[in-house]
Symmetry: C2
Subunit: 252 residues, 2 copies
């Protein structure tokens, strides 16, 4: 792609703009997460979270395969396939991938893994937001597809805080936290690679604008999932027809 | 498609099952509509509704064109193209199509039509749900695409009630209601045609199951849009980053 022009910003400026978007829009600020970290969620609310978030997890390797399917560059494909391997594992029960680890978190909340696998009761709004992510990486430019992954630049500190607070406030979940421990090393590696790629390939102001908008769109996708959870299970607490209803619904 | 088998239900039974789904899941029961019809919405909340619903309106002819693009049968195409004409009109200002009429409703609330046209401030959750509708009709079977339009079976009585209550509770909106008046004759014609087509082409239990699920999915799409509006603008009243903020937000 084009070299930076006089009106484009340099690599480090673009990285700063992307970080600023995360500061303003990443879901570390969402009230559902704030309640989670303050220990204010009920078991049923945490069940709703892991069940809905499983739908997101289940689409991550599909999203990454859609990106892989669009890469002409074998170097990029080789680097990106790591993400699919991280999530799907290699079938060795001793070294589970991210999806199997998330199913353990599902079980730690007291739900059956089959409920997550079948997707029964997942909020339609979760599906709409997550499917929008798969469509974004399939239909927009490769630059936008890769830039949309940059929320991982911000996930490290959120996950560190989350693991700490989940252990503190919900000790009965402690056996299910392996997913997050894995992500603490995987996410920064992935984010560094993607940030380097984006800053190299977004040389013009128009490309930088696309990259920033793709990151905003991804933040919207994450935020909308928590809005839907909050509406259905916290306040006003109205799950839509057909959605999961926790046994302790209403208590907090 | 296949003729009914011993375990399939007849035409009138399928129509009853579809009506039952509407009774349980159509958005006439949604608390946002209940508040609207009771006169409890502020002007700002109505602005948020017309702005977000404009995004839905703007995608209807695109959705219908996606269906048209998949029809092998010229009779079906001729019947279905009416919907595109109803929404887009023929450019004659004296006989505006549904989209232009909706823009008049936007203006009647005090918003500028440009805000709807640019989509600035539309909730991401609205886009995700509406785009899911376009993807449904593009990617699922033609039977499911057409069955997903059957929410129009239920729109007549909702629109009749709505026009009456909007006039009663929000008289300043009265100049903007032409959209609904047009739909009172268009929607039943469209629904009758689609119901007849679906009952003719869903002969097997598997096909009838697909048709029912497509109607459920469409109800989910409508419901999720109102959930997002309620969450952002009624209770708790937290618009996501970048979303429209009414001037009277918080008053009711």
């Amino acid at each position: 792609m084009s070299a930076p022009t006089s009106s484009s910003v340099g690599k480090s400026d673009l990285a700063s703009r992307l970080r600023q978007i995360g500061e303003e829009r990443y879901h570390h600020r969402h009230p559902f997460h704030l309640r989670m970290h303050e220990g204010q969620l009920t078991r049923g609310q945490l069940q709703a979270w892991v069940l809905n978030r499983y739908y997101y997890q289940s689409r991550i390797p599909i999203k990454d395969a859609a990106i892989l399917a669009r890469c002409e560059d074998a170097d990029l494909r080789r680097a990106w396939r790591k993400r699919i391997i991280d999530h799907d594992g290699d079938g060795d029960a001793a070294k589970p991938g991210g999806i199997v680890k998330w199913l353990r978190l599902v079980e730690a909340t007291g739900l059956k893994r089959e409920q997550a696998l079948t997707g029964e009761g997942v909020l339609p709004a979760t599906r709409f937001a997550v499917d929008a992510y798969v469509h974004l990486v399939s239909e927009k430019s490769l630059l936008e597809a890769i830039a949309s992954s940059l929320t991982e630049m911000f996930s490290g500190s959120l996950i560190t805080l989350r693991v700490d607070r989940l252990r503190q406030h919900y000790p009965w979940l402690s056996g299910g936290l392996a997913y997050f421990e894995g992500r603490l090393t995987q996410a920064p590696e992935d984010a560094n690679f993607a940030l380097d790629w984006v800053t190299k390939h977004a040389g013009t102001p128009a490309e930088q604008h696309l990259a920033c908008n793709a990151l905003r769109a991804k933040c919207d996708i994450l935020w909308a999932q928590l809005d839907a959870l909050y509406f259905a299970y916290v306040e006003p607490g109205w799950p839509p027809p057909g959605a999961f209803r926790p046994v302790d619904h209403g208590k907090s």
